[in-house]
């Protein structure tokens, strides 16, 4: 009743006709015009210069990352990687004598917001090149925007296989690995060192399905067998109904998950005792990422995985380049978390993506978006080598599909000092041994 009375009072107040005087109309109108003017003025203000660099006009690099929403943690580290790279490049004199101006926008992890922000970067900020993108669906939604604007789009994180296969695009490059290359690198180890028979558990959506297919092919090509596969819907908290049905004669349980699903699948499979019968393995550090290990702890012990980057100093990762990168990212992350955040694959791939753009821009004397065609040619079949710009090692950016091939690190989770758990490098697969045939036809 009280609510009904409130509604009626509001209605009477709102809809009472015939009481609009000229003075009130003018007053409210003037206030509205002032507000609109303020907004309009704000719209016309150019983006702030991020860095003074003499009188040289900067080369604008723009990208989107999920800075809010469920993927914000990863998006923030991706942005940190971009910032570290841009600051290093500018500190060393910029690109062709001009500074880089980095503009990072929030995609909210949603395709619609990603498209909106990409349009802003391309038409309002007039960026010269794009570099960023975290979630595959957002990357795929935004690729046509770069094509229409004829601007190079150097992806930072997006993993979906189709980006450089069925959906490949002349303006889009992926300067890090993808599932088919990882499967080629990992399958020999899985089949020869663990067992021939595998059961694949995967997150049941586009990325999980395409990665499952890549590993099934890889294992079969090595003479192994995938006896069964089980898809679990993304975000399933209770995976026991799926895991409890897994039984039979096979050697290893291969998991394709990420984020909290990675934590859930490892801990719940362990709790069901599956680790006593089958060896746990998985795609990348997605299952057993550095951020997941504190939650998985001893349940992840013995897990064998593969990744393009590990935040440890062992073997080929025990280099001065890697230590510099590690320290710079950790220091930069303190802007967002006073305790600092350890580098991860997201900061690494964005750091190296911006650096490979720099190498390409220097090679073609890039002056701005009008030189996009020159830049594409410079990036195609570009090979870069380990150093401060590429702390994880050499790589090739293939012309046929704009897909890079990088070194891969096969690791096992072991107990570290005290009560900690960390990955230990078992084998390094050089990028030359990860190559798969291109499956792309540029339009």
């Amino acid at each position: 009743m009280r609510q009904e009375g409130h509604d009626r009072r509001v209605d009477e107040n709102v809809w009472r006709p015939g009481t609009i005087t000229r003075r009130r109309f003018v007053g409210v109108g003037a206030a509205s015009v002032a507000a609109a003017g303020t907004l309009g003025a704000a719209m016309l203000v150019p983006s702030p210069w991020r860095r003074a660099f003499g009188s040289e006009k900067p080369i604008r690099v723009g990208g989107i990352q999920p800075l809010t929403g469920p993927a914000a943690g990863g998006g923030l580290m991706a942005k940190v990687g971009q910032e570290v790279a841009a600051e290093r490049i500018n500190a060393a004199g910029g690109v062709n004598g001009r500074p880089l101006e980095l503009i990072v926008e929030d995609s909210e992890g949603k395709p619609a917001a990603g498209i909106r922000k990409t349009r802003k970067l391309l038409t309002r900020d007039l960026v010269d090149v794009g570099q960023g993108g975290f979630m595959s669906n957002v990357c795929i939604a935004c690729m046509p925007e770069y094509r229409r604007a004829r601007i190079v789009n150097m992806i930072g994180v997006c993993l979906d296989t189709t980006i450089t296969t069925s959906r490949c695009d002349r303006y889009t490059f992926r300067p890090f690995d993808y599932a088919p290359a990882q499967a080629v690198a990992f399958a020999p180890y899985l089949v020869n060192n663990i067992g021939k028979k595998w059961h694949i558990l995967f997150a049941d959506y586009a990325w999980g399905q395409s990665t499952r297919d890549a590993y099934r092919d890889g294992i079969q090509n090595q003479g192994g067998e995938v006896v069964d596969t089980t898809g679990i819907p993304l975000g399933t908290a209770d995976m026991v109904p799926f895991l409890s049905k897994i039984r039979g004669d096979f050697d290893g349980l291969f998991m394709i998950f990420f984020g909290k699903d990675g934590v859930n699948v490892v801990t719940q499979a362990y709790n069901l005792g599956l680790h006593n019968k089958y060896r746990f393995a998985g795609d990348g550090a997605a299952v057993v990422a550095g951020t997941n290990l504190p939650a998985q702890r001893e349940k992840a012990l013995g897990f064998v995985g593969i990744d393009r980057y590990l935040p440890i100093f062992q073997g080929p990762l025990d280099t001065e380049h890697h230590r510099k990168f590690f320290d710079a990212v950790f220091e930069q992350s303190k802007q967002y978390d006073p305790n600092g955040i350890l580098p991860d694959r997201y900061s690494q791939s964005n750091f190296e993506a911006l650096n490979i753009l720099k190498v390409g821009m220097e090679a073609c004397d890039f002056r701005g978006r009008e030189d996009t065609e020159k830049l594409i040619e410079a990036l195609e079949d570009l090979q870069v080598y380990a150093g401060d710009d590429f702390p994880t090692g050499d790589r090739l950016l293939r012309k046929a599909d704009h897909q890079a091939f990088t070194n891969e690190y096969i690791f096992e989770v072991v107990q570290g000092a005290g009560d900690t758990y960390q990955p230990k490098v078992l084998q390094v697969v050089p990028w030359q041994d990860t190559i798969v045939p291109p499956a792309c036809q540029f339009v």
């Binding site: 509001v10 107040n13 709102v14 109309f25 809010t68 929030d106 949603k110 619609a112 669906n137 990325w207």
Partner: protein, 323 residues
């Protein structure tokens, strides 16, 4: 009542034409196409909010599942544009979007209108989430998480004229559709059918006792609302040349309710204004303040507005003018 309506008619039409003219012309002076596209997007999201307002504002039924109709409309358009590039593609896309939303509307109306209040809201939410899971996981048909990418259609009229959409022609096309929908929805809410729905909102048992078929009226309005939401989804698909499972997700429905609360429930035009203010606030705060923390001031502003302007922006504005 009739006298009041006829008395405000000339004023309404003048105001309506002025607003439409302003929305049509002002974007020409925007400094770049980004703001033009943003305004177009606001109109489409406003149309979605308007469809939700038909239920919230005029029947008192809060739908948390409008994303279902929006997403279906978007995918309907996407399928049409994936299949054909004929001069009729634009209209086929709109028709298929409407058809998809109509089917969903019938389905939801049949099952949900038997329930009231929070139970109706939860049912609509559940239906939308079920279809989100289907779209998300049925990769072979829907593209799964990656959605469907397609070429935008050409602007054509009966196959006689065809041209590529430009930023402005897209804006004018969307504006025309939204303006027509507004006039149509307003007419419906002022019709005897609309008055019965408002009577249901005020006192459902009494309306039933008078002899009206309450369920049939509710079903009619849910279906009409679904159609308008489906149309906005089809426009959104055409506008972005992309369809995503996210459009089925409950966050889309939630934002639609926010547009309503912000702009003014039961005003039809208010939700469009609400969508504009919400999108613009996010845009300005993320660009000029912080791309990481901009949702904090947006949330605070929203809270303040709900507390001090419970009737929404348009309601508040009219209230001030009435004073």
């Amino acid at each position: 009542m009739a006298g009041t309506r006829s008395a405000e008619k000339p004023g309404f039409w003048i105001a309506f034409l002025v607003v439409v003219a302003v929305l049509a012309v002002v974007p020409l002076w925007f400094p770049n196409s980004f703001w033009q596209r943003l305004l177009t997007e606001v109109l489409i999201l406003g149309l979605l909010a308007m469809s939700s307002d038909l239920l919230i504002g005029y029947v008192g039924m809060v739908s948390f599942g409008h994303a279902l109709f929006f997403g279906t409309g978007c995918y309907g358009a996407a399928y049409a544009l994936t299949w054909t590039e004929s001069p009729f593609a634009l209209w086929l896309a709109l028709l298929l979007g409407l058809a998809g939303a109509a089917v969903m509307g019938i389905f939801v109306a049949f099952y949900s209108t038997r329930l009231r209040d929070i139970y109706f809201s939860i049912t609509t939410l559940v239906f939308a989430q079920i279809f989100w899971v289907i779209v998300f996981t049925w990769t072979d048909v829907t593209g799964g998480e990656n959605g469907l990418v397609f070429s935008p259609p050409r602007l054509s009229f009966l196959g006689l004229f065809a041209a590529e959409f430009t930023t402005m022609s897209m804006h004018w096309f969307v504006l025309a559709v939204v303006a027509l929908c507004y006039v149509f929805c307003r007419r419906v809410t002022q019709s005897p059918f609309g008055k019965v729905l408002q009577a249901i909102r005020e006192n459902e048992p009494r309306t039933r006792a008078i002899g009206y078929n309450v369920e049939r009226h509710k079903m009619g309005m849910v279906m009409l609302s679904a159609l308008v939401a489906g149309l906005s989804g089809a426009l959104y698909g055409i506008f972005n040349a992309y369809a995503a499972p996210d459009y089925f997700f409950f966050l889309q429905s939630g934002e639609t309710v926010i547009y309503n609360v912000l702009g003014g429930i039961g005003t039809l035009a208010g939700p469009v204004l609400g969508a504009g203010v919400f999108v613009l606030l996010k845009e300005l705060f993320s660009t000029y303040w912080s791309p990481e923390y901009y949702l904090i001031p947006v949330g605070l502003l929203f809270t303040i507005m709900v507390i001090y302007m419970p009737q929404g922006l348009l309601g508040f504005l009219r209230h001030k003018l009435n004073e």
